[in-house]
């Protein structure tokens, strides 16, 4: 065996430690991203022997074809409802639970667990439960509405309603997640800031909120917004379980369209273009929120 200098031994060690994961990242993440971008300019179909370059035609279809447009618009509506609703509700719940933890720690812990339960649950299984809850005749939701003298709804088959039904389920599964993030942010606020606010005369609870809590939660809020946006942009499980994008594409979303076009209709090229649009949206959202909010956020 030849002797290696310590320098080349060091290089071999670095290679041995880094090569497997690096190779994995390249083969499983970065190369596929490149391939998706390339395929998005083709009419490639799974199983076909050849393909044609068709330039931007796939992208034109997404933004001009009514079905393609629907997926984009529906996804944006879904995010636009779930993001603010789940963040505001989560903040209110977190403030309440944080407050209650000072005088009833046991109960506060139980409440926290209850709100978090949907996050730990299996969404597909819970979606089948929502299907039962929202059943037009046998579901307790419509039965409760009827008992109150209100008309029952076709929650999952009314074209005008179905997307908003999905946003309710989306909020239900997101609030607990965001609450936990806000609770961590609240726990990190040093108590002496409240004492200082007290001395300055800000002693009503809403004054304390606006002068101390809200500014100190800035970084947390930014983080929650980014996480919620990227999570809700990916909405797929509830669509696939409850509606298959229907009726008449009224609840179609980007990731579901990507799945259907690619893996049900085998249009790999078109599916790739939808994928690229999805990725660009996620990137824009993440980067834009960091830029916009970075200037306003109060960092310690």
């Amino acid at each position: 065996m030849t002797r290696l200098s310590s320098r080349s031994r060091g290089i071999l060690t670095d290679l041995w430690l880094t090569a497997p994961a690096t190779l994995g990242m390249i083969v499983l993440i970065f190369a596929p991203v490149l391939v998706v971008v390339v395929l998005s300019f083709t009419d490639y179909q799974f199983g076909a022997r050849s393909f044609e370059w068709i330039g931007l035609e796939n992208y034109a279809t997404i933004f001009t074809d009514p079905i393609g447009q629907r997926a984009v618009v529906n996804t944006l509506i879904y995010v636009a409802v779930v993001m603010p609703a789940s963040i505001v509700l989560a903040l209110l719940v977190a403030l309440g639970v944080h407050e209650a933890s000072r005088w009833m720690p046991r109960l506060a812990a139980a409440l926290r667990a209850a709100y978090f339960l949907p996050v730990a649950a299996t969404l597909v299984a819970m979606a089948t439960v929502w299907q039962m809850l929202l059943h037009p005749t046998l579901g307790p939701v419509n039965q409760a509405l009827l008992a109150l003298g209100l008309p029952g709804q076709d929650w999952l088959s009314d074209r005008g309603l179905v997307l908003y039904t999905l946003t309710i389920i989306g909020v239900w599964e997101t609030v607990g997640y965001n609450m936990v993030l806000f609770l961590a942010g609240l726990a990190a606020i040093p108590h002496h800031l409240y004492d200082a606010a007290d001395i300055d005369g800000a002693n009503r609870s809403w004054e304390r909120f606006w002068t101390v809590t809200w500014p100190m939660l800035g970084p947390t809020t930014l983080f929650v917004m980014v996480v919620t946006a990227t999570r809700s942009f990916r909405v797929f499980e509830i669509v696939a379980t409850l509606t298959d994008g229907g009726p008449a594409f009224a609840s179609d979303t980007l990731v579901f369209a990507m799945y259907r076009e690619g893996f049900v209709y085998f249009k790999a090229g078109y599916s790739s273009a939808i994928t690229v649009v999805f990725l660009v949206f996620v990137l824009i959202f993440t980067l834009a929120q960091f830029r916009i909010l970075e200037s306003r956020v109060h960092y310690r």
């Binding site: 649950a121 299984a125 819970m126």
Partner: protein
Amino acid sequence: MTARGLLGRTATLAVLCLGAAIVLIPFVWMISLSLKPAAEIFSPDFTLLPSQIAWQNYIKAFTEVPLHRFLLNGVIVCFGILFFQLLLAVPLAYALAVRDFKLRGLLFGLVLAGLLVPYHVTAVPLFLGLAELKLLNTYSALIIPFIASVFGIFLFRQYFAALPADLIDAARVDGLSETAIAWRIAFPNAWPAVTAFAIFSVVAHWNDLFWPLIAVSDRDLATPPRGVLYFRDEEAGSDVGPLMAAATVINAPLVLGFLLAQRRFIQGFTMSGLKG
């Protein structure tokens, strides 16, 4: 305590409890339906509790479809993924945190860039690649796409970088190789990060529907969420009791795990927020 303060507390608690009750409705309804006889499920009268407990729903759930098989598949896939994720992530994270080499900055940049890519993006090329290798419809197809976890690499790097330099130096003086230090010193010392990551990874893959829907069509390879859909579609939604029993069984491992180890679970999830 003033009367006003007491009133405020009571109101806060009342609203919080009401909200929690609404959040829990689907769980209560799932368990209630899973224990009801069919006649009661389709009765137009609303009842929360079953008049008699119908355990046969649970028996049917295991006999009408191979539910035990779905659960076993879930365990195999989740632990297979976790094993390879750790195997790849720990050495790279260690090198990024502790060692000094030329391409370190570039590699760390790759990890950060990878955090921005949702895994749905790679589906079409990975499907093509796995088809080329004749691996579709195998456990490998369910495991391989996830083995390079940039989130795991990032998380472990942060932990390893915070380890005291003396600890590493002492191990080097003792003659341990770098690989041994990564696995026998750094890895156990990052245990909180490891458990948090393990919980995050297992939950994510136990619950995933997107990739199993694409990668396997063989029913015997279905993971729990895929299995629930087989169940529902085969029974055309008519056998509600057993379907809800199956949903309860599939939820049980993670929900029980969460209730028993709440702090760890919540840690795992808050950390996972880093992944875009």
